[in-house]
Amino acid sequence: MEGIINNIDRRTLLKGGAALGGGIIAAGMPLSQVIWAAEGKVLKVALPMELATLDPGFYGASYEVNVMNCLYSKLTRYKPGSEWGWDLEAAEQIEQVDPTHIRFRLKKGIKFSGGYGEITAKDVKFSFERIFKHKSPDMPDLGSFDHVELEDDYTGVIVFKTPYVPVWYLALPYATGHIVSEQAVMEATKDGGNFGMKPPAFSGPYVLADWKQNQYTLLTRNPEWSGPKAGFDEIRIVPITDIKTAERAYQAGDIDFATISLDSLATFKSNPPPDTKVEEHSSLRIIWLGMNMDHPKLKDINVRKAIQWAINVPQIVDAAYAGYVNVATGSIAPGLIGHREKALVPPEGDLAKAKEFLDKAAVSDLQLTLDCDNSGIPSIIAQIIQAQLSQIGITVQVNTQDPGSYATIGQESDGDRWKDLQLFIRNDSSLPDPSYYMGTFVKAQVGVWNWERFSSDRFDELNVQAMAIEDPNERAKLYHEMQDLMEKSGAYRFLTNGATPVVYRTTKVQPATRPDGVPLYVDFKPAQT
């Protein structure tokens, strides 16, 4: 070895370095990828934020659930594809016995890692009940859950205090439905509370091999997993908070699947990076213009209706989203129970009718404020609405602020700002059940998340009823009526449900997503080469 080193002179070193560098560059491969090219099938993806917890009973954001899906089993799981549905996962059988009881029977042989044994009904009971015992913020997902009764090692009955139909889409196939090991969690936390970023055992196809905050999360195959084999040996997840950075990371080849911004969609479609497929998925979001019904300037329903009718939604969709999103017909997104075919106020509005309402209200020189967050598109929407309302003589002043401050502008607990709130743009995410959308607009939420201060006994009554109806068609009727009530109040102008465009490298991956474009990494497969 010493001889070799002594024989390398400066010229040889430079020649060698140049040859190596030239080879790497000519091959078009980033240096890091050359040096650290991993063995086996590796999926490289991005998360929009850093993980804060991997405890499914205390999750804070949907992207955390994308990772949890790889680490733990659930009774059921969302079906990949373009229509909402669920499949069995850890459950061999599951049925609604009566409105307040769901019986499940677990598959045998699904093991926890670390020698914590097989998943039993006792672990399911522990996983659900700890959420309530420790007053997790995620309790609402399980609605009126009461307890789990054990019948034998593999069979149990989930008991609710009152009928709660949303559990089939909000909890069982989602975060709070994940099963953790009672023994492992008790050993790790002593009281069964939140274990944060230190999962003590895994029950899914992958285990958490490494996590470096703000750098990466590495998942590797769970050697004790006995279920269907996942497509990739490793999943490397990088937190990228800025969606534009994620797009550049994809273009540079650092990740193989990415959600892109709607304003980049046209560019990706017209000039896609090599071997790239662009897919457009619907979204569960709802973006709307809200009006504070308690504000003196907006107390008169005629003023609110004038605003509703003056707004041309397709114009907003074209200008703010280049036409890549739908025109919303209500708060509930397409594809879900309760989605309305059309809104009561036509999407294009009617300026003559808007002026009529304004005349009825007998107001002139109306000056209003319109608040929104500064995250980009909401402020563009606000400017379009400003221009549209000027056509009926309403002057609008747009106020933008950081998302953190804006998030509480209508809340009574955060000072008196809610009293000055007039018009505002809300951009809320949701889960695939209509109850998730409607919970915001009940009377109990006035001054909390119901910034319109919309208050309807009928709406609240329907909201309770709709949670208990199993027949989707009957349930849908109630949600249609609820959205009609909202729209008739004049306090809402539904704009769009958004869209989720994703890109992936066809030479590396065959992705699988929920209908709203959320990735289901466990179902991702390597590309056929």
Binding site: M49, N194, G196, S405, T408
Partner: protein
């Protein structure tokens, strides 16, 4: 020297306490409720109350501040209830990434600016001097994040020579991941340092002792490197120390653009989510870092110039 170090230590503590207290008051004056932001639309008042209690936000401001400083005496920066980890662990994990970014940026800036500044001074009023002058002002005018975006688009996206995101794994990989971000931060300093060094060199080259050295027939290269540069570089060293604050703020943008771990990325996330313990812990550490950097630059100055050493 010992007395000087003690004075600087007291100053460091005073500045850090003042900065953190001001920040604490500002955080609580800004609208935006952490419980509402983090727990979302379905959070009940009970859940919010529980979160306030877990984070100690249910106590009066004075008590919260006293608890924070009390914890500091034991090396405890608080606890992040979301990740269930001590804030000190989180901040100290991220700190090395920012430090290496700053250090590499300084190296970039010094490596480019010092030769340019010297050359401009030696070839005063030449065409090259004018070109360097224009380039210097240009690099000052371009913000770091703009430089970062373009560097990324050219070298990572178009040419695919370098990685676009992350900090890498292992020494060689980390070094490669550091090239673009540190260049983006460092290049903004090239103009400042080159102009400062040029002016300083011109002044030094006109001094009597340099004329004397030249009269002895010492080569021009030796005059510049051995006699003029060590003196002319003193203001630059001071600026580099003070400039750590500037580099830290530039690092915030660059860490977001390159999705790099670090103090900047951490603070952006924490401010957006109103995660007060992380914000406080991070600012405390960065404040302390800046005070240490200025102290080190004073000590380096003293090492280079005996006159300053005597004053200390």
């Amino acid at each position: 020297m010992l007395l000087y170090l003690c004075k600087r230590l007291v100053l460091a503590v005073t500045i850090s306490v003042t900065a953190v207290t001001l920040l604490f008051l500002m955080i609580h004056a800004v609208p935006g409720d952490i419980a509402s932001i983090l727990l979302g639309p379905r959070a009940t008042p009970e859940m919010k109350a529980q979160l306030y209690q877990q984070m100690g936000l249910d106590k009066p401001l004075v008590v919260q501040l006293a608890t924070f400083f009390g914890g500091l005496l034991h090396g405890d920066l608080g606890f992040d209830v979301f990740s269930q980890r001590p804030v000190a662990d989180i901040v100290l994990e991220q700190l090395p990434y920012t430090l290496e970014l700053i250090l590499a940026s300084i190296l970039w800036a010094a490596a480019i600016a010092i030769p340019l500044g010297c050359y401009s001074a030696v070839r005063r009023n030449s065409a090259m001097d004018h070109i360097v002058g224009v380039m210097a002002v240009s690099t000052i005018a371009i913000p770091s994040f703009v430089m970062a975006v373009y560097a990324l688009l050219i070298f990572a996206v178009s040419l695919r020579w370098l990685p676009a995101i992350g900090a890498g794994e292992g020494f060689a990989d980390e070094l490669i991941h550091l090239l673009l971000p540190s260049f983006a931060v460092g290049v903004g300093w090239v103009g400042y340092i080159a102009r400062l060094l040029r002016a300083s060199m011109l002044e030094t080259l006109g001094e009597n002792h340099i004329r004397t050295v030249r009269a002895f027939g010492v080569s021009e290269w030796r005059v510049i490197t051995r006699y003029a540069l060590p003196l002319a570089i003193l203001p630059t060293v001071t600026i580099l120390g003070v400039g750590i604050a500037w580099l830290l703020s530039a690092a915030v943008f660059v860490e977001v653009v390159f999705a790099r771990p670090g103090i900047g990325a951490l603070i952006v996330q924490a401010v957006n989510s109103r995660n007060y313990p992380i914000v406080m812990g991070t600012v405390l550490v960065t404040t302390f870092l800046i005070v240490i950097a200025t102290t080190v630059s004073d000590l380096v100055n003293a090492a280079l110039d005996p006159r300053i050493r005597e004053e200390l």
